[in-house]
């Protein structure tokens, strides 16, 4: 990761900006939304325990410590992924989030909240329930420095 940041710096103009977006490593909440109500079904896990996100933090600390970048601003935002059914969510995770694990108890709780045995039926309009994965994301702006 440090090497990637060094290479990125080479591609930036002097005083160029680096904006990094990556998850915080807090397990994302898996919620079922029914109208205005939000119910917690459980949390999404990752097979590596979100280790890479903490490694990313360490890499950014190293390059700022070496004076390659200067941290100007950082913050958090919430990223929501909406799925109409459990099947849709499971299929999406299998295709795009390969190390994600949706625990069986979370699937069962979500199915219960959706009112279907293991399968949601709804879209996002009206009071139809949907599954929402709520993830806290870190964003930071750095300025290239030291040259």
């Amino acid at each position: 990761m440090v090497h990637a940041l060094e290479m990125t710096r080479d591609l930036l103009k002097r005083d160029g900006l680096l904006i990094d977006i990556h998850p915080t490593g807090r397990p994302p909440r898996v919620e079922v939304h029914v109208g205005e109500e939000i119910h917690l079904a459980g949390h999404l896990e990752e097979t590596n325990g979100f280790l890479e996100y903490f490694q990313a933090d360490d890499a950014l600390k190293e390059v700022t410590g070496r004076g390659l970048f200067e941290l100007e601003r950082q913050g958090l935002f919430t990223f929501l992924l909406h799925a109409p059914t459990i099947t849709a969510l499971v299929d999406h995770l299998a295709a795009e989030w390969l190390d994600a694990v949706l625990p069986e108890e979370t699937i069962a709780r979500a199915a219960e909240l959706l009112g279907e045995p293991g399968e949601g039926t709804a879209g996002h309009s009206g009071d139809r329930p949907e599954i929402v994965v709520r993830e806290i994301i870190h964003i930071a702006r750095f300025r290239s420095s030291g040259r």
């Binding site: 290479m7 080479d10 904006i19 890479e52 990223f79 109409p84």
Partner: protein, 101 residues
């Protein structure tokens, strides 16, 4: 119904706030994937190069690129190391590490 990612636009709002002003800027997006985030900010920027090592994602991005963007946005199937080795140095105002670290 399909999966919807960030219909609330929290991510793009945060990006535009942190980037301050992308007008006329040259942006390198590392980990551009199929352009999910790229399409949301590219109209603001002067020029965008999106790279991703996954050729399938880049093929999808090239296919789904909004009509107003070709000529200002290039989506390339390459790694950061290969791209840098090709001699592309010190030319970007902004580098965006998009969920890749």
């Amino acid at each position: 119904m399909q999966i919807r990612k960030d219909p609330e636009r929290n991510e793009i709002n945060a990006l535009l706030e942190f980037a301050r002003d992308l007008t006329g800027k040259r942006v390198l997006e590392i980990g551009a994937g199929y352009g999910r985030l790229t399409w949301r900010y590219a109209a603001e920027a002067g020029e965008v190069v999106g790279i991703d090592p996954n050729p399938e994602k880049i093929a999808r991005a090239q296919k789904e690129m909004p009509k107003a963007l070709p000529g200002r946005v290039a989506m390339l199937a390459t790694t950061l190391e290969e791209y840098r080795r090709a001699g592309q140095v010190r030319q970007f105002d902004v580098a965006l590490l998009s969920w890749v670290l």
